[in-house]
Symmetry: C2
Subunit: 416 residues, 2 copies
Amino acid sequence: MIKINKNFLELQDNYLFSNINKKVESYLEKNPNANIIKLGIGDVTRPIPSSIVEKMKKAAEEMQYEDSFRGYGPEQGYEFLRKKILESEYKDLDIDLDEIFISDGAKCDTVNIIELFDKDIKVGIPNPVYPVYLDSNIIYGTSGKYIVEKNEYENIIYINFTEENNFEPLPEELEQIPDLIYICSPNNPTGTVMKKDNLEKWVKFAKKNNSIILFDAAYEAFIKDEDIPHSIYEVSGAKEVAIEFKSFSKTAGFTGLRCAYTIVPKNIRIMNDGKEVSSNKLWNRRQSTKFNGVSYITQRAAESVYTEEGKKEIKDNITYYMENAKIIKNGLEEIGIKTFGGVNSPYIWMKTPNGIESWRFFDVLLEEYNIVGTPGVGFGTNGEGFFRLTAFGNKFKTIEAMERLISKKEIIFDLI
Amino acid sequence: MIKINKNFLELQDNYLFSNINKKVESYLEKNPNANIIKLGIGDVTRPIPSSIVEKMKKAAEEMQYEDSFRGYGPEQGYEFLRKKILESEYKDLDIDLDEIFISDGAKCDTVNIIELFDKDIKVGIPNPVYPVYLDSNIIYGTSGKYIVEKNEYENIIYINFTEENNFEPLPEELEQIPDLIYICSPNNPTGTVMKKDNLEKWVKFAKKNNSIILFDAAYEAFIKDEDIPHSIYEVSGAKEVAIEFKSFSKTAGFTGLRCAYTIVPKNIRIMNDGKEVSSNKLWNRRQSTKFNGVSYITQRAAESVYTEEGKKEIKDNITYYMENAKIIKNGLEEIGIKTFGGVNSPYIWMKTPNGIESWRFFDVLLEEYNIVGTPGVGFGTNGEGFFRLTAFGNKFKTIEAMERLISKKEIIFDLI
């Protein structure tokens, strides 16, 4: 008799975005003329630069002729793309070509990587957090059971991102030692970043405890401040403890094209009863067995991100988004709302006025200002009392949203 | 301390294709002018039809403008493509739109689907077989340990494909009842197909035993005979027991573009301590959590496979390959070699002359005829004494390969 993977039954239904959509639809039914501005989305809106589109059309055309047609590509990705990434992103960081693996998304990689590890390890996951880190650990079985009264999983070590630690927790704050540690910088949802000296502490901590860091740098292209690492390998010793995830999704607008890459250093050793196994070899075997590579056309598009023209066009898009971030951050601060992030990240994490519940703030923002954002509690218990706005919208609409808030700011502060 | 997923250590290194490549390279070093014909590959070689390439170029261009740009698509695939598949492939088969899931490859889906099930189930896997069915079960833990003396895994129920059962095994031949059953028809590597009445027996067997069939129909477009099912849902009751995998890879030459789809019927229930859970709901949750959809450009390409022009161009490619299959099959039979498959499949499974070992036959074929194929034993113990040739090569080279064999046929039959 076929039986279920019981771990699935431990998943809590995540209604965050469906609840948001339902509330917006219901409001629009009653107010069909409302001019709603959406600042809740985590998807890009700027189109793909023309130089990249030209390369995709050329790659599509190559598929039409017998001589230039491409069938199965390497599961690890084409060398032309891996070389470009090596030269452009890891020039002085001592990374080898066979440590770079191309994939169809950082989401897939951050969830699939867990398969390399035993179910009996302790996993450290931020709170609040991008929900798939936790959900994939639940499905895999590392989370253990859900404890209703705590709204926590029994085996997860929660890494608390709070106002007190300025959303940049340190390893010494942990009560237990995780074997696997998720770090996302620039962070989703808090928009905060990990400074180099703090990252050094995490690398040392991991090394001391034989732990592995999963470093999600999907938003690194938005970093502006010079002292913030774009890669964890800027930190000495990281090659022995950290796997890094990067993506073309937010950097180059590839959310609809699907391309990311993961660095799995050969120096990282995973223990097996006293013997050591190379994580690089394991990941290579996992990908060869369970994955079949990324579309050739998408890989050519990713390659052209690194041309002079591509780089310029992409920088323009990032500048566009970061202007939005500034508009939002300044607008909120002008009326006295405390914000985090938004400087090296497209996410602005704001404190709700008078500390009201984040879903209540959502309702007020929707009903009084026709603005949609994301309640912080949807990302974890520590998100209660906070709210996420994103810089991925249209500039004029973003300006208008802030004008609406400023012109009727008293409504917000009358909330208790 | 981080620990390994020990299941990885049970994987046997699979050197099949790397051994083939090494032997060919070594031969070419000694015989640099040899004109080698490769009939071993499982990848397509015909280019993508021009009508499909045009659609890809158009889709790429859409990404260039704000109004037509597409970011994240639905994890389940765009409705425009799922509707086309429903109309074209499942017209009278009572499949619902939300039972169709688009993915980046049948390989990924056939390996990821295991996650829905408990590790404690018994899995039935063909011998010989497409290696990833077995390898993914090893990584997941359903296989149990490798038993060296048997060259088998302790918990796998092997479904024997032999000359005696005409490479079409029946459920009554099994000594144990599997909870999960892999069926691949047209089969890789044997090229044989499952007739409707046999498939009915498997569906009844699965229903009686509360088992689930994973039906891999990646090669269904090559079926010529009218009485062979293209979908398992042509069999009554299959919607309650079978998950079906189809792909654009071999059908439309998409191995480099990455697009497949899987049907997970809502009627399939998976047991959990007496309660039933919908497999469709589980797979939807799995895909939403761990996958981020297929490239928009690829999905538009797949949609255009179903235009009148697309259908015609694709049919021409399949006809081309199936002429190759006929040339190989007729050529081999002309010199007295017994063959299987090659009628409803691009694979020809041949008996080695005088039953010699399949690697020895590989060497003779390479050295005496400069032809490369795949030794049957590389697909499992039952493949010993057999050899796989494929119809995916160039037509003129395929003809020449057969001429070489026919003109020096005595060499083959002198082998003992």
